[in-house]
Symmetry: C2
Subunit: 336 residues, 2 copies
C-alpha cells in the first residue's frame, strides 16, 4: 500500500507538502494541490490512520461498551453514539460480551489501549470506586444508565424512581384500585427503583401493593409469562400490572389472554423502555419511553466536549432524563 513518501516522490514534492494537502493545511499552491491530489488518486493512496493517531495523539475514535448488540435497547444506545461519531467524523469502536466486572474492565482496557478519545460505557458490575478512578484516568469517559454522585457531570442517566411514579400515576388516573407488579430478578438498581417509585406513589394515595402481587423474573418474554402465571396462581385479583420492561410485558399479555383475560378491558398492562417491540404487539403496548438513543448521543457529546481543548465548565448540564409515558392500547380505564 502506497505511503506518503511514495506520493511525495512521484509528485516530486516533499512529504511535508503532501501532508499539507492531505490536511487542507494553510499555504499550499494550487499547483501543488492538484499535482499531489492526482498522484494520490493514481497510487490509490490511503492515509494510515494509525500513524496519524500516533503522532497527533488523538485517534478520532469513539468507544462504546455494552453487554450485547442483539438487545434492541443496547443496539439503540450504540446507534446513538454512532450518529454522533459520524457527525464528528469519528469511528465507532465496539466492545461487548459483558457479564462480569472483569469482562467489563477488559472491554474498557481494550478501548484504552486503542486510545479512544472518548468512550461511552454502560457498566452495571464495576463498583463506583473503580469507575471513579477510571473516569479520572480517562478524560473522555462518560457513564450511561448509571449515576455516581462524585462524577455526576460524567453520568447520563434515567430517573427510574420517577419512572415508577409516573407509571403509578397513569394507572391511578385510569381509576385502577388493585395492582400487580412484575420486576426483574436481577437486583441491580433499575428494577428496584422502578418498583420503589411505583410503590411509593401508590402508598402516597393510600394504596398498598400486596407483596404477593409482586413477582420477580428473568427480564425476557418467557420471564414475563412465568411471572404472570405465578401472579394468577396467587388467586389475588388485580386490574393493572406494571412490568419491568417491554419484553416481559408482552409475555404478560400473552399469558393473560391465554387465561381468558382481555387486555386492556380486563387487565391493563404497562411496560417500560418503549423498544421497537412495543409497537409490534397486539394490543400495542402502553409503556414508558426510555430515550436511550438521545441519551447516548448526549453522552457522546459530553465526552467529546470533555476532551476538546476548551473544556467548557458546563457543570449545570442536564444529564438526568425522565421517562415519558407512551399511551397505546394495553392500558385503559378500569372496567365497571
Amino acid at each position: 500500500m502506497a505511503t506518503i513518501k511514495d506520493v511525495a516522490r512521484v509528485a516530486g514534492v516533499s512529504v511535508a507538502s503532501v501532508s499539507r494537502v492531505l490536511n487542507n493545511g494553510p499555504k499550499v499552491s494550487k499547483a501543488t494541490i492538484e499535482k499531489v491530489t492526482k498522484v494520490m488518486a493514481d497510487l490509490n493512496y490511503s492515509p494510515n490512520a494509525n500513524a496519524r493517531a500516533l503522532v497527533t495523539q488523538k485517534s478520532t475514535t469513539l468507544g462504546v461498551v455494552i453487554p450485547d448488540l442483539v438487545d434492541p435497547f443496547f443496539a439503540s444506545l450504540a446507534q446513538g453514539v454512532e450518529i454522533v461519531a459520524r457527525q464528528k467524523d469519528m469511528q465507532l469502536l465496539l466492545s461487548t460480551g459483558l457479564v462480569t466486572a472483569e469482562t467489563e474492565m477488559q472491554a474498557i482496557n481494550l478501548l484504552i489501549e486503542r486510545r479512544c478519545d472518548v468512550m461511552v460505557v454502560h457498566s452495571k458490575k464495576l463498583s463506583d470506586q473503580v469507575l471513579i478512578e477510571l473516569a479520572n484516568k480517562v478524560p473522555g469517559l462518560v457513564l450511561i444508565d448509571r449515576y455516581i454522585e462524585e462524577i455526576a457531570q460524567r453520568c447520563v442517566w434515567l430517573d427510574n424512581l420517577e419512572g415508577g411514579k409516573i407509571a403509578a400515576r397513569h394507572l391511578l388516573a385510569l381509576e385502577h384500585k388493585s395492582f400487580a407488579c412484575i420486576s426483574s430478578k436481577y437486583q441491580i438498581d433499575d428494577p428496584l427503583l422502578r418498583l420503589k417509585g411505583f410503590q411509593d406513589e401508590l402508598k402516597s394515595t393510600g394504596v398498598m401493593l400486596d407483596a404477593q402481587l409482586i413477582e420477580f423474573g428473568e427480564p425476557t418474554l418467557q420471564g414475563g409469562e412465568i411471572a404472570t402465571q405465578k401472579l394468577l396462581a396467587s388467586g389475588k385479583r388485580f386490574s393493572a400490572v406494571f412490568v419491568y420492561n417491554d419484553a416481559m410485558a408482552i409475555g404478560a399479555i400473552s399469558t393473560l389472554e391465554d387465561n381468558g383475560f382481555k387486555v386492556p378491558s380486563d387487565i391493563s398492562v404497562l411496560g417500560f423502555d418503549d423498544v421497537l417491540l412495543s409497537r409490534y404487539s397486539r394490543p400495542k403496548l402502553s409503556t414508558l419511553n426510555y430515550p436511550v438513543e438521545e441519551m447516548a448521543m448526549h453522552a457522546a457529546n459530553i465526552g467529546i466536549e470533555l476532551v476538546s481543548k476548551q473544556a467548557t465548565k458546563n457543570n449545570d448540564k442536564h444529564c438526568k432524563y425522565i421517562p415519558r409515558l407512551v399511551k397505546r392500547e394495553s392500558t385503559s380505564f378500569k372496567a365497571g
Copy 2:
C-alpha cells in the same frame, strides 16, 4: 500516559526488554519479567495499540459495514462478527449509515484508512465491478448477503430463490390452493429472488400466482399493513400469504385480524428472517430462518484465514446458506 520508555527507565532495563515481556517474547529472565511487570502495574502502563499497529502492519481490528444497528437483522450480523473478534482477540470497528453507493464506499474507505485486517461488508448499492476491485485490493474483505461469481469464495450468502421454494412447498403441503405474496418495493435481489422462487415452485405444481395478489411495500410493519389492505381490497380470495420479512408479516397479521380473518385458521401467514420479533407476535410467526449470526461468524473467519500467512486454498468452502423453515403458529392446514 506512561510509555514503554517510562517503564524501561523505571525498571532499569531497555525498551527491548519491556517489549519482550509485553509480547511474551522468547528468552527473558524470570527476574526481568517480574520487575517489568511490577513497574507496568505501578505506572498504570497501557500499550499503545496504534503504535503497535504501525510497526507490525496489522491492526488486530475487524471492520463491519452495515446499513444500521437498530434493525435486529443487522444487529445480529454485527453480533456474529463481534463474537469472532472476541475469540481472536481483535476489536470491532463499525461503520453504518449506508444509504447510497457513495456512503457505502466511504464507510469501506474509512475502514481501509484504519487498516482493518479483515472487513465484513454488507453492500447492496455498490456494483459488482467496484466490489471485485475492492476485494482484490483488500485481502481480508468478505462480502455478506451478496453473491458475485468472480469472487465467490469471498461471499457468504443466503439462497433466497430456494427460500421462496421452501415457502411454497410448506404452504402447498398444508393443502393451500390460493396464494398471495407481499414483497419489498426495493428492487434489490433478495425480494425478487424470494418471490421468483415462490412463484416457480407453485408453477411447477400447476398453480399460478395471481398478479393482483402480489403486493410490494415498504419492508416494515406499516408496509405490511398497507400491502395487506390492498390485497384485501382486490376482492380476490387467498388462504395463505408469503411475506418478504417478519416485520411485514406481523403487520399483515394485524391487518388481517382487524378485518375479521383469523390467523392461521382463515389465512396462513409465513414470514422470512426469523428475527426476535417473530417469537413475540401473536400468533407466533411461522417463518424461514436466516442464520445471519452464523453466517457473519463464517464470513469473519474466512476473512481471518484470508489474511493469515498460510492462505489455505479452501476454495471448496461452503458459503451458501439455505434458510430453514421454522413452523410456529401462523401457518396451518387450509380449513375446510
